[in-house]
Symmetry: C2
Subunit: 415 residues, 2 copies
Amino acid sequence: MPDIPGIDVKRVESDIYKIAEFGAVEGERGVYRQGFTEADWQARQWLLGYFKEHGLDAHIDGAGNVCGRYGPADQPAVIIASHLDSVPAGGIFDGTLGIVAGLECIRVIKEAGLKLNAPIELIATSEEEGRFGGMLGAQALTGKLTLDWLEQARDPKGERLTEAMAKCDLNYHDALTVFRAPDSVKAFIELHIEQGPVLEAVDKCIGVVEGISGVYKWLVKLKGKADHAGTAPMDLRSDAFMGLADFAHEIKRLIAENGTDKTRLTIGYVKLKPGYAHTVPGEVEFTIVGRDMSEEVMKDLADSSRKALSAIARSHGLMFEYEQMSWLAPKAMSNEIMAVVEEQTKKLGYSYQLMPSGAGHDAQFFADITPAGMIFIPSVNGVSHAPDEWTHWPDVEKGCNVLLHSVLALTGVED
Amino acid sequence: MPDIPGIDVKRVESDIYKIAEFGAVEGERGVYRQGFTEADWQARQWLLGYFKEHGLDAHIDGAGNVCGRYGPADQPAVIIASHLDSVPAGGIFDGTLGIVAGLECIRVIKEAGLKLNAPIELIATSEEEGRFGGMLGAQALTGKLTLDWLEQARDPKGERLTEAMAKCDLNYHDALTVFRAPDSVKAFIELHIEQGPVLEAVDKCIGVVEGISGVYKWLVKLKGKADHAGTAPMDLRSDAFMGLADFAHEIKRLIAENGTDKTRLTIGYVKLKPGYAHTVPGEVEFTIVGRDMSEEVMKDLADSSRKALSAIARSHGLMFEYEQMSWLAPKAMSNEIMAVVEEQTKKLGYSYQLMPSGAGHDAQFFADITPAGMIFIPSVNGVSHAPDEWTHWPDVEKGCNVLLHSVLALTGVED
């Protein structure tokens, strides 16, 4: 393979700030570029032109994905993708980085006169963040969408997906026509910020993603008896909150006994009834969100949580019920892509860490049609989905170089 | 002392149902007779007439208390009191029972031709339940009210106390003139439902109240860091809710080490921020309400809670702050009155239990000007402040008989 120049992080920085202007709101911090909003659509049209300026064969598909192709025709493509949409008041790196990094790779490849054996397809996917459920563009490209789902999806304010797409001159029926035949794709790779504190904590620069954690969500109710907080002695109460507190206290044990270092169990939502200072809580509703890289471990966590809750409920005189709101199995990344990323990272002399992705990503859908992998770089303080999301430029540079070298290893280059 | 006939529980039952009509709302369960509402005022005027029908020297004072006197003039009186107002959707016994029981005592005394050495004053106090803060009538009678407080008090909907009183033809300035000189009062006694589960649990019929528990209320904040519930490993979180759960888990130990069997520690209000299932809670706000019969114990509970919270906050990387919203010292009931009630209960052959009152009562103010005591009778399932509040009539009968005999022991009867 010929010598490969390093990427130019100044150009990456400039592109990130350019895209950050789409969805900047006067007087607000952070980016507001939710999927299929005006800001999102303006950014996509600008990006389409920018892809073309860079010599890509580009179009916006029926699901709103901005797709640009570079390299030899009639060959399965290596897809470099990330999303262009943001959460409300999101950061400037989340998603955008992966697109800009892909474009920089193509710039370097062109400038170095490298001849690829397989084409690169750069895709800015649509509605990844979840205004209408999330990863819409990726689901469209991997054949997961249904007409029924498209027609019933609404955002939290009640706006229909079909109407939001129509405002972007998209006919939602076309979203069902963009799926890629697996034999048209060679590989999928995405560079993304970690959105968590692990790489910073272990002082490593590159995260080689092993897979996307599986995740389940329970809505749990414990029902006891609301009592006067003065007249009800401690031992005659059925205090629903104390049941929840006992369960929360068991989480450490549940993970130690059933989980792994990749396990997460989170109680993020709690509602007491009646919720008055002077009344013993008669009822509590709360969520448990569990994650792990192994579905077997997820099942063990769920089973042991259920047992713990049953026993705690009995001991407090509470009624226990729960509803499983969702269960998504973990999705392993391709060993082939992981090996390529690991090898190129080593060659570049960067430190790295194998790690799961606790958050969901488009890669979990692409993994069904092609070998898929992801590269993480550190998030300062682990912050993301917030205006103060940040990644240091030297880390961005290293991440882009790993992407470039990995992509070239996947496409192959004419000597 | 001459023979004393038993009270007639049928008349008590009839009076309770009669008063329950004031504040009954079409299509709703429970009594709506909040202080200084139209229903409350109609009930007071009816009660004034009813007192007079029974030969009491009766009037409504400047604080809205309905006062009726029976027995020799110019002597310090034994006050039998309870409140006529209710919480919204309250029960038919809370407060009303004590007034009706007092009236039945006077009926029996008259019918038996007993000559009292000291007069009885029967008082239906106003605004005990707290529409404007609570125990207004009792505070007026014991000299605790101030002009400033009267002028600033509002109900939760924002209506001024002064306006609500004006609608009842009361000039609020007159509430400052009704206080009783301590030498005009011989004793204070009140029969009330327990509003808790203790008497039922120990299978005793009469509660001899030792005092009103002291109570403090803290508003506590634990501040950590909101994180993505997928990307933040368990050991890198500052999860505010897990701090609260650890503290709740310590409550049993805190009471075992610092409290008594009369201690209550309650977490009744909890608010997580941001409160999303998929986000590690960065902040939690919650209340701690502590009660005991000893102020020393209350201080120990507060100190040990503060230490526990500080240590837990440190171990989770949280910031801990709290505000003490209120601190009311316990108020002991008079040993003299307790001895009288205990003795008469024994003579009547009823089972009894010494116990604190976890809820506040008018007696805590009367205790400052005269020997004060209370008699409790069981609440079915401990329920009160709810439409399904209930006390069995045989228990009502026993409670009324204990009141009658105790009052006669306090007034003295001519042989």
